[in-house]
Amino acid sequence: MSLATVQNVQKQAATNQNTIFQVDNFNLWYGETHALKEVDLSINEKEITAIIGPSGCGKSTFLKTLNRMVEMVPSVKTSGDIYYRSQNILNKSFHVENLRTRVGMVFQKPNPFPKSVYENVAYGPKIHGIKNKKTLDEIVEKSLRDAYIWDEVKDRLKENAYGLSGGQQQRLCIARTLAIEPDVILMDEPTSALDPISTLKVEELIQKLKEDYSIVIVTHNMQQAARISDRTAFFLNGEVVEFNDTETLFSNPSDQRTEDYITGRFG
C-alpha cells in the first residue's frame, strides 16, 4: 500500500468518526415552495457550525430538518438522505423521539414553559423516565451551572420562569436542553431577541459548550458567526453556496456571492 493510500484511508476513517450529520442531496418543499435544494453538508463532532444567509434562504428549515421538527408543517415533502451517526433519520422506522433526545434545540425566542425554573430544567429528564428526586436535583443544578445561570437562579428555583429576564430565559432554555444530555445542540438565532450584554453571555456559553457538544447555530449576525464558529455554511435561496472553515470563508471566500454577502453588498 502506498503512503498516499494509507493517508487517504486514515483520513476517511477520521472523517467518518468525526461526522455526526451527513446530509446527502437533500431537497425540501413546503407545498410548491422549493425551500432546500440539493443540500450536501457534513457536520463534525465538537465543532460549532454556523449557518448564515439572507432572510428566507432556508436556514431555519435546514436546522429543523436535523431534528425532524420541520415535519410538523403538514405540506412538507423531502427527498435525499440525512444520516445521524450513520443512521438514516428520514427512515420511516426511525423514531423522532430518539433523534430529538440526542439532538436538542434552542429556539430564536426564549420559550420556557409556564412552570418553575426547576420544573423547566427537570422536564426533559422526567419525560425520559427519571423520577428520583435526588437525581433530578443533581441534573437541574448541573445543567444550570453548565448554562452559567446557576448563581442567578439558585434562590428562585421554585419561581415561575417567566419572571426571569429575556437573557436569563434563553440561558434557562439552554440549561433545559443540556438536561437531556444531547449529543448535538441546534440553535436558531439564539441571541437575536437579546440585548448586547446577554448576547455576549450566551456567546461565551456556546463556546464553552463546544468542549462537550456539537453545535449548529443559525445566525444573522456575521460577526457572531466569525467569532464563535469553526465552520460556516452560506445559504442562498435554499442552496449551499459555500461551506468552509470559518476563517477561510470570511477572509477568502471562493464564491462571488459569498463575498457580496459577507461584505454587506446584499442580504
Binding site: N67, R100, T101, F113, G124, I180
Partner: protein, 294 residues
C-alpha cells in the same frame, strides 16, 4: 407635499366626536334594555316564589296538593342528570377535540367533520330529544331513565363543548409544544404536561357553561317522556326521574287550573338558578386557579 389638510380635518372633527358619543349611548341603551328585562324577570320570580321556599318544599315528595308538594325528587333528578352529563361531555368532548386538533391530519376528512360539528351545534334541542327517544329510550331499550336523559343532554351540548375545547387547544402557544417535542417528548407526554395544563381552564369553563345550559333544558326531556307526577325519589341513573326544569314546565302549564302552582314554579326557578349559579362559580374558580400566563 401634504396629504393631511389640517383645516379640513378640524372642520370634520366635531361631527366625528358627536358620532362617537351617539354610538356610545346606543351601546349603553342596548345593555340597559337587556339588564332591565332580566332584572324584571328575576324580581318577579323572587317576589312570587320566595314565600313558597321552606324546608318541607325543598325536601318533600311531589304532590298534587300545592301546600304539600316538595321538589326533592326534581333536585335529585337534576343532580343525577349532571352525574351523567358532566363526565360524558367532558371525556368525549375533550377526547374528540384532542383527536381533531392534534392527531387528525389536516385535509378533507377533518374539514368535513369540523363542518358537521359546527352545524350540529345549531340543531334545535327538540331534535336531540327525538334522537334520544329513538336511540336510547327505544332502540337501546333503556326506557325514560336518568341515563337516557343524561346521554341525550350530553349529545345536545357535545358540539359546543368540542368546539370550545378545540379553541382552548389552539390557543396554547406553539412555541411551548415545540419546546416539548424538541426534547423528545411523545405526543401524549406533550398533551399531558404542556397542552392540557394550559388548555384545561378554557376547556372546563366552556364545558361547564354548556352543562348549565343542558341542566336548564326541557324540550329534549319532554320528548323522551318525563312523568308529570313522579312520587318516589330517583336513587341512581337507572331510575325514572323528573328534573327541575320539567317541574317548572308542568307547574307553569297547570297554573291555569291551580293558581298556587305558579308560586311553586317560581320557587323551583329560584332553586334552579341557585344551582346554575353554583355551577358557574365553580367554573370561575377553576379558571382563576389554573390560569397560566405565557
Amino acid at each position: 407635499m401634504n396629504y393631511m389638510d389640517i383645516q379640513h380635518v378640524q372642520k370634520k372633527m366635531k361631527t366625528r366626536i358627536v358620532k362617537n358619543n351617539i354610538l356610545k349611548y346606543i351601546f349603553l341603551l342596548a345593555t340597559v334594555i337587556g339588564l332591565v328585562v332580566l332584572a324584571t324577570l328575576i324580581i318577579r320570580v323572587f317576589t312570587q316564589g320566595i314565600g313558597a321556599i321552606n324546608v318541607d318544599f325543598l325536601t318533600g315528595h311531589l304532590s298534587t296538593a300545592p301546600e304539600r308538594a316538595g321538589i326533592m325528587g326534581a333536585i335529585l333528578g337534576t343532580l343525577w342528570l349532571m352525574a351523567v352529563v358532566i363526565p360524558v361531555t367532558i371525556i368525549i368532548g375533550i377526547g374528540t377535540a384532542l383527536y381533531l386538533e392534534l392527531y387528525l391530519k389536516e385535509g378533507r376528512t377533518r374539514a368535513l367533520i369540523q363542518t358537521n360539528i359546527s352545524n350540529l351545534a345549531g340543531v334545535p334541542s327538540i331534535v336531540y330529544g327525538i334522537l334520544g327517544l329513538t336511540v336510547f329510550v327505544r332502540a337501546m331499550d333503556l326506557g325514560n331513565i336518568v341515563l337516557a336523559g343524561g346521554l341525550t343532554l350530553a349529545l345536545l351540548i357535545l358540539p359546543i363543548v368540542i368546539v370550545a375545547a378545540q379553541e382552548s387547544i389552539r390557543s396554547v402557544p406553539q412555541h411551548l409544544t415545540e419546546a416539548s417535542y424538541g426534547m423528545g417528548a411523545t405526543k401524549w407526554q406533550t398533551i399531558r404536561r404542556i397542552i392540557l395544563p394550559a388548555a384545561l381552564p378554557g376547556m372546563l369553563t366552556g364545558s361547564i357553561l354548556a352543562i348549565s345550559r343542558a341542566i336548564g333544558e326541557t324540550a329534549p326531556l319532554t320528548v323522551i317522556g318525563i312523568p308529570a307526577l313522579l312520587i318516589p325519589f330517583p336513587e341512581g341513573i337507572t331510575d325514572k326521574f323528573t328534573a327541575l326544569p320539567m317541574q317548572i314546565y308542568y307547574w307553569t302549564l297547570d297554573a291555569v287550573l291551580v293558581e298556587e302552582y305558579a308560586k311553586l314554579a317560581s320557587a323551583t326557578i329560584i332553586v334552579l338558578l341557585l344551582l346554575l349559579f353554583i355551577l358557574n362559580s365553580v367554573a370561575i374558580i377553576i379558571r382563576n386557579k389554573f390560569q397560566q400566563r405565557y
